[in-house]
C-alpha cells in the first residue's frame, strides 16, 4: 500500500483530528463552540478553519499548487493573524499535522512503516508540510502588514482631515479658546 492511498482513505479522520488539535489551542470555554457549531454564520471561525484546512490538506496530498495553497491558507491565517496568538502559535497549526500523520501511519501500517519506499514517501510528505509552513508564514506576514497599512491609513486620513480643516479656516489663530490637545 502506498502512503497517498492511505491518506486518501483516511482523509476524513486526519482532517478531523487536525481540526480538533487546532481548535484545542483556543480557551477551554469556547473550544467546544468553535468545534461543534456548524452554522457558518454563527461560527465563522470554526467554519473557516475547517474549510481552509480541508483545502490545504487536499493540496498536500495532491498537486501542491502554490496558487491554490495560498488561497486556502489565506482564510485561516487571516483569522489567526488578528486573534490572541503569537506569531509562532498563529502559523504553528501546520506542524500539528506531523505527529498526527505519524500516528495514523503507525496505526495502519505497523511494521511496514520501515520499508524504504514508505520512508521515502514520508520524507516527501514532510517536506510538503514544511513548504506549506513557509507559505503560511508568508501569508501571516502579509496579513500583519496589511493590518499595519489599514492602521496607518486610518491615522493618516484622520490627520489629513484635520489639516484640511485647519487650512479651510482663515482665522484659526484668532480663536479665543485654547485647543486642549496638549499631549495626545
Amino acid at each position: 500500500m502506498r502512503l497517498t492511498d492511505l491518506l486518501q482513505q483516511h482523509h476524513e479522520e486526519i482532517v478531523g483530528k487536525w481540526f480538533d488539535a487546532i481548535i484545542a489551542m483556543y480557551p477551554a470555554g469556547s473550544a467546544e463552540f468553535l468545534a461543534k457549531q456548524k452554522d457558518r454564520f454563527r461560527n465563522p471561525v470554526g467554519y473557516t478553519t475547517r474549510a481552509s484546512i480541508e483545502a490545504v490538506f487536499d493540496e498536500i496530498t495532491g498537486s501542491m499548487d502554490s496558487g491554490e495553497l495560498r488561497r486556502a491558507l489565506d482564510d485561516i491565517v487571516r483569522v489567526r493573524a488578528v486573534q490572541e496568538f503569537t506569531a509562532a502559535e498563529a502559523v504553528g497549526f501546520v506542524f500539528l499535522l506531523k505527529p498526527l500523520l505519524r500516528e495514523v501511519f503507525q496505526k495502519h501500517l505497523g511494521d511496514q512503516i520501515l520499508r524504504q519506499e514508505i520512508v521515502d514517501e514520508m520524507v516527501d510528505l514532510e517536506t510538503r508540510i514544511d513548504q506549506v509552513a513557509m507559505l503560511t508564514f508568508d501569508k501571516y506576514m502579509e496579513c500583519r502588514e496589511q493590518l499595519h497599512e489599514v492602521r496607518t491609513k486610518e491615522i493618516r486620513s484622520r490627520s489629513a482631515n484635520l489639516i484640511d480643516s485647519l487650512n479651510a479656516g482663515s482665522c484659526v489663530s484668532k480663536c479665543k479658546g485654547e485647543p486642549f490637545n496638549d499631549d495626545a
Binding site: A28, G29, E32, D39, R40, R42, G169, C171, C175, G177
Partner: protein, 331 residues
C-alpha cells in the same frame, strides 16, 4: 467541581431529613414547623424582592426592539416584536412568558448543495426549558388536590389528561416524568457543554439538584415506597387550616419530599429563581416602543452643566462673523 459541591450540599440535606425524621423522630418539626417557616420566608422574601425592584425607577424607556417599528402607514409594523401599544406589550410578554419566544429565536443556517440557505431549528434549550417549566407548573397545580376537599373540577380534569396513558397503578402522570427528564437534560447540558460549564455557578447546580430531588422523591413516593396518602391529605388540610396535626405513619420518603420542597421555597427569594418575578419587570421587554410618541418621565432627571449657545458664540464670535454666520450679539 461546582456540580460536585452542589450535589454534596443536596446529599447533606437528605441526611438531615433522614436523621431528623427517621432517627430523631422530629415529625412535627419536619411536618409543621419547617413548612410554615419555608412558606413564611418565601412570601416575605418574594414580596421584599419585588418591592426592591419596584422601588428602583425606570428612568429610560430602553425597549429592545426585535421587529419593525410603527412609523409610516405603508410599512407594516410588527406589534409583537416592537410593540406600539399595550396590546402589543401584553402579546409580547405573553409570548415570552408562556412560550419563551426569545429562546425560540435560536436558528441555525445551513448552506445546502445548491447554495441555498435553509434555516433549521437549534432549539434544544428552548424545548427543554419549555418542557421543564410547564410540567413543573402542572405538577405544582396538581398538588392542590391535597389541599382542598372536594378536589376542584379543573384539577381532576388536569389529572385525567395528565394520566391519559393509564399506565401503572397508581396511574403514571406524564408531567412527573417530563419534569424529571427535562431537569436532567438541563443538568447534563450544563456539565457537557464546556461553554455552559464555564459559566455555571454552584447555585445553578444546586437549584437543579433540589428540583431533581423533589421530582425523584415524589415519583418514588407515588410508585415505589407507598406512603399513607390519607395521612398526607390530613396533614395538608390541617396545615392550610392553621390547626396542624401530624398523623402517625405517613412514611419517611414523604418527609424527604416535603423537606426538599421547603428548601426550594425558602431558597427561592434569595436566588436566581426569582427570574419568575423578574421576567415580568424587565424594562427591555415590558415597555412599548413608543419613545417618540409619548414622553417617558425620568423621576430623577436633574440639571446638568451644558455649553450654551451664548457661551459658544462668545467663544467663537470673531470667526463666526468672518465666516458670515448670523450672530445673536455683535460683540
Amino acid at each position: 467541581m461546582n456540580a460536585l459541591l452542589a450535589l454534596f450540599g443536596v446529599a447533606i440535606l437528605f441526611v438531615i431529613a433522614y436523621l431528623g425524621v427517621d432517627v430523631l423522630g422530629l415529625h412535627s418539626l419536619f411536618g409543621i414547623v419547617l413548612p410554615y417557616a419555608a412558606i413564611f420566608l418565601f412570601l416575605i422574601g418574594f414580596v421584599v424582592r419585588i418591592f426592591q425592584w419596584a422601588k428602583s425607577p425606570v428612568p429610560f424607556r430602553i425597549t429592545t426592539t426585535s421587529g419593525q417599528q410603527k412609523s409610516l402607514n405603508f410599512i407594516k409594523s410588527n406589534n409583537l416584536e416592537s410593540p406600539h401599544n399595550t396590546t402589543g406589550v401584553i402579546g409580547r410578554m405573553a409570548l415570552e412568558i408562556l412560550f419563551f419566544r426569545s429562546l425560540f429565536r435560536n436558528t441555525k443556517a445551513e448552506v445546502k448543495e445548491n447554495e441555498r440557505i435553509v434555516y433549521g431549528p437549534d432549539k434544544w434549550l428552548w424545548a427543554a426549558a419549555l418542557a421543564f417549566h410547564w410540567s413543573f407548573l402542572i405538577v405544582f397545580l396538581r398538588h392542590y388536590r391535597f389541599f382542598a376537599e372536594p378536589v376542584p373540577e379543573f384539577i381532576l380534569k388536569m389529572q385525567a389528561v395528565d394520566g391519559l396513558f393509564q399506565v401503572g397503578t397508581p396511574i403514571v402522570f406524564l408531567t412527573g416524568l417530563i419534569l424529571l427528564a427535562s431537569v436532567t437534560f438541563l443538568f447534563l447540558r450544563r456539565v457537557v457543554l464546556p461553554q455552559v460549564r464555564y459559566i455555571s455557578l454552584l447555585a445553578d447546580y444546586f437549584a437543579l439538584f433540589v428540583i431533581m430531588a423533589i421530582a425523584i422523591s415524589g415519583l418514588l413516593m407515588r410508585h415505589f415506597y407507598k406512603v399513607d396518602i390519607v395521612g398526607v391529605k390530613e396533614l395538608a388540610m390541617t396545615l392550610v387550616g392553621f390547626k396542624p396535626v401530624v398523623p402517625e405513619g405517613i412514611g419517611f420518603i414523604f418527609y424527604v419530599h416535603l423537606f426538599f420542597v421547603c428548601v426550594l421555597f425558602a431558597y427561592f427569594p434569595f436566588s436566581k429563581l426569582m427570574h419568575l418575578g423578574g421576567v415580568f419587570l424587565s424594562p427591555t421587554r415590558n415597555l412599548a416602543n413608543t419613545n417618540r410618541i409619548k414622553r417617558h418621565i425620568n423621576p430623577w432627571n436633574y440639571e446638568v452643566k451644558t455649553h450654551t449657545y451664548e457661551e459658544y458664540e462668545d467663544e467663537f464670535r470673531d470667526v463666526m462673523r468672518e465666516a458670515g454666520l448670523p450672530l445673536e450679539k455683535e460683540s
